[in-house]
Symmetry: C2
Subunit: 383 residues, 2 copies
């Protein structure tokens, strides 16, 4: 991309930190190896993966032995939902109504195979209360999955309280922490869940690596079968360079989280002050949210049209979650929050990253104002 | 690894070609992107993936629309076995008795869920005949999976003949071509199979990318569910840099296959002449084999011990397939060929790559001779 492009879609994917790339490069050249091999190359690969495992565990408040590497967040969420349900046998699964499709669809697949499935409702701000969780659990419940922070609104859930409620019912708890890691403190032990999903490419690490953090006291069956890597829970040759990069990105998160959060929060405040003066409506405004995410609509302006207009001006933002932006439907997250479909169709997501600056925000707000004015004139003419 | 180390384990994994790394680097820096995003970054990522899809198709004798990218060979084999079986409904699955665990174990998982499972026997040289395939198929058969070339022995199967037999029974055919690509010509159309597995890191491409080539006339259900990438058959953010690298590695295969094959064959002849003069027994000796693979045993010498001894001298070879070398059992491939367990425990695999030289082979044979002599003296003392 040219230097005039500004990237504001960090919940979609993030640029690779140059320090992470430095850490990966030896493993993309002379230090190749299959970590299952017993010779010197294999042992060096195993050693590098063990180091990355410790780095990931450190950033997530977990023990290295709890880290199961996968190819990404989608695979880890599939492993959690399918693997825990299959190991427990037929019963009841509960997920929140605002989960990512890589939680929702595996849960629906289990439903097609005989499991019961419920969705926990959210309130108008996108919050999931322990009472709402309580209302859907029953004696057959075996698994609850509620994301730590939502990819679209950035709303953060009180997972510790939710987990406490679920544990009282003897239910295993999974949380998708893909969007939370690197933006807020993520502590597996303090959240007191049984399984937690992480992804490398959302924290300035490489694509192709993720992890499921697993409390070893729960049973889980693998989804990908074969050579028995990752304690049998994830077969397939370990993606050595990507895992090393994921570890390096986690180490940077551990070292820099507070300063990153402060910078993101400051930029977001500047952004949201500007959005308010534009008449934009912010979703989840009163909820606790990730410091980098603003999901908003300008009344009477179509979100997709606005995203395309901003793209032509060099600003990359999203109209919904990237992973489902091929569908023309309004955001299922907003509909679950009770937002009217007409307003939901106006939704635009700005997700900031540490590579952004306040100058980027100023330029963005300027362009947004002129594009909104232009689109409003077009609408007025059309009417 | 130091310059004095010689890597002879290319069926385990291969070093990344520096030209492939060059192709990847832009996508590990400024050209980051989520291929599902609609903005300029996302469209650039999509374009790069489409180019890689064409490169992979070209190297494999397929059409770009038939290429489903996965995180690797294991995932592609799981997708083929589980996805085709599930789509067809309960019935009979046949696999050869020498498949990789990432075919065998998904097939066994389907068996646990109600499907019938048979194993096609191999002859003493590791060949699977069309008659042997015919003998296990029945009216309930829905899927046959036979690998194109074996990872341990390198024996190449006549997949076109096998597929013709299976098609006469209305059975879908899958072949695991992970070890064949880059070493012999691989032509999806000519093999006339319905699905074929490829892997990037076996052809001097990066780890973390693979593909299932799929004839669109067969039904297949996804294993990983979520955002619906890869036509719904493989959800999860595309690993952009790895896919670009896989494409670049395939383009090099298309351009250089003949010269690679000739070089590998010449080095292997030098190796096997030396092995014969050492009294080594070569497995699958009379079968058609990959030009880079020699699987042998020196009678009365334990394979694992010899591999460790060679490793200490700077030569990386395998005692079996890397993916299952944690188990102490003799190779299931050799046992299926009727090799006595005592001899099978002596098995050592040398798998050459384009980075090897005839000087490496000479040095290896010299060291092998002295280590064999030393181990024989130790054995004589122990007895």
């Amino acid at each position: 991309m040219s230097a005039t492009n500004h990237y504001f879609d960090h919940n979609g994917t993030t640029p690779l930190d140059t320090r992470v790339l430095e850490a990966m490069l030896p493993f993309l050249s002379q230090q190749h190896g299959n970590a299952t091999s017993r010779h010197a190359y294999g042992r060096a690969a195993r050693h590098a993966i063990d180091q990355a495992r410790a780095q990931v565990a450190q950033a997530a408040g977990a023990h290295p032995s709890q880290v199961i590497f996968t190819a990404g967040g989608t695979e880890a969420n599939n492993l959690a939902i399918t693997g825990i349900s299959q190991a427990a046998g037929i019963g009841h699964i509960a997920i929140s109504s605002i989960e990512h499709p890589c939680v929702t669809r595996p849960a629906e697949a289990m439903q097609a195979r005989g499991w019961a499935l419920s969705r926990v409702p959210v309130d108008a701000d996108g919050n999931i209360t322990a009472a709402a969780v309580q209302s859907v659990l029953n004696k057959e419940s075996l698994l609850l999955s509620v994301m730590l922070a939502n990819n679209e609104t950035g709303v953060i859930q009180d997972i510790a309280a939710i987990a406490e409620t679920a544990r009282r019912h003897g239910v295993s708890v999974h949380t998708d922490a893909v969007q939370a890691l690197g933006k807020i403190k993520v502590d597996f032990a303090a959240l007191n869940v049984h399984a937690m999903t992480l992804s490398s490419h959302k924290i300035n690490g490489p694509q192709g690596a993720g992890a499921l953090i697993v409390d070893k006291r729960i049973d889980i069956q693998p989804v990908l079968l074969g050579g028995g890597q990752e304690k049998g829970l994830r077969s397939g040759t370990e993606n050595l360079a990507a895992i090393v990069g994921f570890g390096a990105a986690c180490e940077l998160v551990s070292a820099e989280l507070l300063q990153r959060t402060a910078r993101l929060r400051q930029m977001r405040e500047q952004l949201e002050t500007g959005l308010a003066s534009l008449g934009a409506q912010l979703f989840g405004a009163s909820a606790e949210r990730l410091p980098n995410t603003s999901f908003f609509a300008v009344p009477e302006i179509d979100g997709e049209t606005l995203v395309m207009a901003l793209d032509r001006k060099g600003f990359a933002v999203a109209s919904g979650s990237a992973c489902s932006s091929d569908s023309g439907e309004p955001s299922h997250v907003l509909l679950a929050m009770g937002v009217q479909p007409d307003l939901a169709r106006g939704a635009v997501r700005v997700s900031l990253g540490v590579d952004n600056t306040t100058e980027h925000i100023t330029a963005f707000l300027h362009t947004l104002q002129s594009e909104v004015n232009r689109l409003k004139r077009l609408t007025a003419i059309a009417v």
